[in-house]
């Protein structure tokens, strides 16, 4: 009885996942291993070797962005969890507020702000300083990633910090821990599930982004996302685009697998994605 109800309840999701996840993945796989005429071929896979530097660049940028995000988010989330409950909600809303706007609009806004004739350079000029070129630099791209994905890091870390029982902190102090040891021996290990969720949620969209690098990188920085987009949109080479996507997927799966191993070893599995 119970089992049949479960199957019945699951059915819509199974159908949904089949049509919108499994079938597209299969199509990607088919494209990756065929040529433009639809014949089985390793051409696209072989061609991948020309793009390994794009992969490395993507990995490097997303790693730097993830580390910077973590460095900003961790102390922020900790401080936030220590403020009075009433102001916590408002502050959390302020963190989430930019996410109510579309990613494209936010990135476009930064393009305008960082532009050669943008607000920042206008201010610099009015202060008789030399204008700075932001767009097209690695710094601008990483800044864009950090800005866009910061809430995804703050939220899971804040959640684990907020639900941490204060009597645990008192117990640690009672057993001889100074402030640093309380953090190292208690707060850090207990916040790891949140950190791992945060890393995953920032790393995955960063490594596959094309929009941020395109707009803030001024087209000069070709990440793997940009390469895929170019193959698909400009060059109509769906086969190579699919092969690149496949590698990116494997890359993400491997990194998530590694992160999940960390999550398991800390007890609570906290990976959200």
């Amino acid at each position: 009885m119970k089992k049949s109800t479960n199957v019945f309840l699951n059915a819509p999701y199974v159908v949904w996942a089949g049509i919108f996840v499994v079938v597209p993945l299969f199509i990607v796989l088919v494209y990756a291993f065929t040529d433009a005429n639809g014949n089985f071929s390793f051409d696209s896979i072989i061609a991948l070797k020309d793009y390994w530097n794009n992969f490395l660049l993507s990995l490097l940028y997303s790693l730097v962005a993830t580390v910077v995000t973590l460095i900003i988010a961790y102390p922020f989330a900790y401080a936030l969890s220590k403020t009075p409950a009433k102001t916590q909600k408002i502050q959390m809303m302020l963190v989430m507020l930019p996410m109510w706007m579309n990613l494209l609009i936010r990135t476009y806004s930064w393009m305008n702000i960082l532009d050669q004739n943008g607000i920042i350079n206008q201010i610099l000029l009015s202060m008789k300083l030399k204008p700075v070129t932001f767009l097209g630099t690695p710094g601008a791209v990483i800044f864009g990633m950090v800005y866009n994905y910061l809430p995804y890091m703050i939220l899971p870390i804040y959640t684990v910090m907020a639900k941490m029982d204060n009597s645990l902190v008192e117990a640690a102090r009672d057993l001889g821990c100074n402030g640093f040891n309380v953090w190292r021996k208690l707060i850090l290990p207990l916040s790891m599930p949140g950190v791992i969720s945060g890393i995953t949620m920032v790393f995955v969209p960063s490594v596959s982004t094309f929009y941020i690098s395109q707009k803030l990188g001024n087209g000069k920085i070709m990440l793997i996302g940009d390469t895929i987009e170019r193959q698909m949109q400009a060059l109509n080479n769906y086969n190579l685009g699919a092969a690149l996507s496949l590698v990116l997927m494997i890359l993400i799966l491997v990194s998530m697998f590694i992160m999940n191993r960390f999550a398991d070893s800390t007890g609570e599995g906290g990976v959200v994605v």
Partner: protein, 384 residues
């Protein structure tokens, strides 16, 4: 308890704690002797947990001093105080197993690994948890977690072990066993225990000294028998055990008048005709034939309690509680017989007339019917 000297392991002098405008502790002074089992007893919000947190160092007093072995420790943080705490809900570290929880304090103190291993196994033996080293703490029962918490605190050889209602979360049978175990553990360890509870029975059966608290003030300090037999005011008499507290007048030494009868008693030292509170324990009253009774009344309720009957008797509108093994029936007209040494006379206090009559539900009953009940306690904990 008056002796303020250096054999007091912990001493509080004129300590006041305020939380915003609420006075949590009001000019409280308390001396705790070495190797003593002291219980802080009182209703929720009386300041007992705050007192414990002051000693632990989680809280600094607004006024007054706290001394350890005669040395002022105001401003000394919790991790530098030679005391350890057993928390109400144990506060075991969820990311560590039983061994690492117990070893926590010694690891922080950078004690050599071999010494830690030996001490942990001693502690596991002390709390009867041998073989549990590798278990995750969230797989343990409440009683087992309790023991881990005790071992985790005791392994650091504290001078004073602070216990914040440690038995509150256990069921009745286990609580009784743990009372005995804690008491014997205290003797074996040979250290001071400061135990916080709202359970008077727990306090009476475990303590060397009981500190009865209410409204941020100490109401009475004494041994369990002193507290029970010689309560100093109506609050103590009512809170510790059951009491009939009657308005009376001390005519002269050893002669008291209440319920319009004059009775002999054994107390003296009051002014002639001084108004007093008269305390008579329910188990000290005998039900006799109305002709033989000093005081007569009508039975209004009879409850069978196993060991005895609990009988409520209306005497001129005042409801007495009597505990006796003889059964009576509702509406019986009976006499009450009281020995002179069962009558205890107390000076009038702010609590006079507010308790000790069994016409109403108890305070606790009223408290749990009140939606705000328990809020005081959380405020108490938030002080930090």
């Amino acid at each position: 308890m008056d002796g303020i000297n250096s054999s007091n392991v912990v001493e509080l002098r004129n300590v006041t704690v305020k939380f915003e405008n609420d006075v949590i502790l009001d000019n409280l002074s308390l001396a705790i002797r070495d190797k003593e089992f002291v219980t802080l007893l009182g209703p929720s919000g009386c300041g007992k947990t705050t007192t414990l947190r002051l000693i632990a160092g989680f809280l600094e007093p607004n006024e007054g001093e706290i001394l350890f072995d005669g040395v002022d420790v105001n401003g000394v943080p919790a991790h530098k105080r030679p005391v350890n705490t057993i928390f109400q809900r144990y506060a075991l570290f969820p990311h560590l197993n039983v061994y690492d929880n117990i070893a926590f304090g010694l690891k922080v103190a950078k004690v050599p690994k071999s010494v830690i291993a030996q001490r942990v196994s001693e502690m596991l033996e002390l709390v009867n948890l041998k073989g549990f080293e590798k278990r995750a703490v969230n797989t343990l029962s409440g009683g087992q977690q309790q023991r881990v918490a005790i071992a985790r605190a005791a392994i650091n050889n504290p001078k004073v072990l602070l216990l914040d209602e440690p038995l509150a979360a256990l069921d009745a049978k286990l609580r009784k066993d743990m009372q005995n175990e804690l008491k014997s553990m205290q003797r074996r360890l040979g250290i001071t225990f400061v135990f916080v509870t709202h359970d008077q029975e727990e306090a009476l059966s475990m303590s060397d000294t009981i500190v009865v608290m209410d409204n941020g003030k100490i109401q009475q300090i004494g041994s369990p028998t002193d507290i029970y037999n010689e309560p100093q005011n109506a609050f103590v008499a009512d809170f510790i055990g059951e009491s009939n507290i009657i308005d009376g007048v001390m005519l002269k030494d050893r002669l008291v008048r209440f319920h319009n009868r004059t009775l002999e008693c054994v107390d003296f030292g009051f002014e002639p005709n001084e108004p007093v509170d008269v305390v008579i324990r329910p188990e000290d009253v005998d039900i006799v034939h109305p002709e033989k009774g000093l005081i007569c009344g009508t039975v209004t309720s009879v409850t069978f309690k196993g060991v005895h009957y609990e009988i409520i008797i209306d005497v001129d509108g005042f409801k007495w509680m009597v505990q006796t093994t003889d059964e009576s029936k509702v509406d019986d007209f009976v006499g009450l017989s009281i020995d002179p040494d069962a009558i205890h006379i107390m000076k009038k206090s702010e609590y006079s007339g507010t308790m000790g009559d069994y016409s109403y539900f108890s305070d606790e009953m009223e408290e749990i019917s009140n939606p705000d009940y328990g809020n005081e306690e959380t405020e108490d904990e938030e002080v930090d």
